[in-house]
Symmetry: C2
């Protein structure tokens, strides 16, 4: 393949152009010259951000782009996205890429007031933790909690409510980390536990009072469980509604307090009743 | 600079090795051979993940790494991180990089029950929105809300409580997006508004009842403000405590419900009082 012509790219509403190496193939020999000529044309026509999405197989383009003023923006396993800001009279206002990793931990309590706890295979030191893990890209927090509990312990459980979240910075890969604690209700007849051998060393149902006093339980996990017991006693729940973005038409969830019977003070005019929230949003 | 020796890299507790191109310089001519010899040695000694952090100036390494089985993991403006999983008898368990962007919107209500609203300069269509923007890497949500309000409207305001958050997928750069709504209290004497000309077209204090009925207000924003009024009326607040990770010794925040006087049901043994939470965690 060769390219003796200018790159077209795809235009966006910010007067930017994105070239995808898989859509506009170009051999390595012609690439430097074609890039230079394309950049000249883009400068002349008022293009602002120029993006090159370079597939792993085309990574010979990377050093040439770097020599021509491009920097890295983000990468996925199969490509790296490089960008160059052309305007000289305007500060670059391109947002940074994602820097937050999202995880879940699950409080699964059965009707005998036992909670599901696990001990990890690769641990820094022994402790009983809540089952959980990373939320996958595009996955809902709620579904991630149900999935991780099933994978690690074989217990099928359903979302009951959100409890809280921890926010910490400079964590894995230097990213920020949000760890959401979600309470789940186990489906009936889940007393037999079968652990995930790859990740988990032990799994058991532990009386909640024992958990709160166990020497091998971190104080943070104890706090999470105590918070959940508080919520349970109060009847107030942190839950979600599903809706659709009014402009972008994308589905989303909004997590907020369901104050239920605890909020007699707000007038009917001022509040959405839980039953018709989804329609009104 | 040249390198006629093996790469050392830095070892981690997962039996991985990370080579930083700025720490172990190598000319492009010697790089392929030294990489091959290093990989052989790492294979022989049971190394699992091999990471190369390649600076923009060393990006000639990128195509050579790609030819040797490396893929991209993530990138920052000044480097790309590539990785190769060596074990053939073990599935690669390297976590994906961050894929969530975090933003804030602020409900700033003064004692005349007016809220601070802005109209953006670059909008898809006209509407009155809540001031806000992206949370910077390493920044607390709370501080981001205060900063954005100050930047966009010149109003100094302090965190009062968290209200809710929206979670949507496949958003900017294909990432997931979490948008946190935070209520702030303006400091006294902030009636004169001065907008940020670069981003904001108009800013004003609007009566909250007018906002809830204004035709140029999105239903989602209306929902956020209604939720806040509910919380305010109930006396229940979604707030945070500061603490330190018990193992990693990193500071963090935990956001949860402060049930205050609304929770007489839980016994003292089972709950942490708000005043001593930080010490006990």
């Amino acid at each position: 393949m060769s390219c003796d012509k200018l790159f077209n790219g795809t235009k966006d509403r910010f007067h930017g152009v994105t070239v995808d190496s898989t859509q506009e193939p170009c051999d390595d020999l012609n690439f430097p010259n074609n890039l230079k000529r394309s950049l000249e044309q883009w400068r002349d026509t008022g293009v602002r951000g120029v993006w090159f999405k370079v597939a792993l197989a085309d990574s010979a383009w990377v050093p040439i782009l770097a020599q021509n003023g491009f920097r890295f923006h983000h990468a996925q396993p199969s490509y790296v996205m490089m960008v160059c800001w052309l305007p000289t009279n305007e500060v670059c206002n391109i947002p940074q890429y994602a820097s937050t990793m999202v995880g879940v931990g699950a409080i699964v309590m059965n009707d005998r007031r036992q909670i599901l706890v696990v001990s990890e295979k690769y641990k820094l030191f022994p402790h009983w933790k809540l089952p959980g893990g990373y939320v996958e890209p595009g996955e809902e927090i709620v579904n991630a909690a149900e999935r991780e509990v099933l994978e690690e312990t074989s217990v099928r459980a359903k979302f009951k409510q959100m409890v809280c979240f921890r926010h910490v910075h400079n964590f894995t890969f230097g990213c920020s980390d949000m760890y959401f604690i979600v309470a789940l209700t186990p489906e009936p007849g889940q007393e037999v536990l079968k652990k995930c051998d790859r990740e988990i060393d032990a799994v058991e149902w532990m009386n909640v009072e024992e958990y709160l006093n166990h020497p091998h339980v971190h104080s943070t996990n104890r706090f999470f469980v105590k918070k959940y017991l508080e919520y349970e006693a109060s009847g107030i729940s942190l839950s979600y509604i599903e809706d659709t973005h009014p402009i972008l038409k994308k589905p989303y969830l909004i997590y907020s307090l369901d104050l239920g019977s605890q909020t007699p003070v707000v007038s009917e005019d001022n509040m959405l009743s839980q039953s018709n929230q989804s329609n009104k949003l």
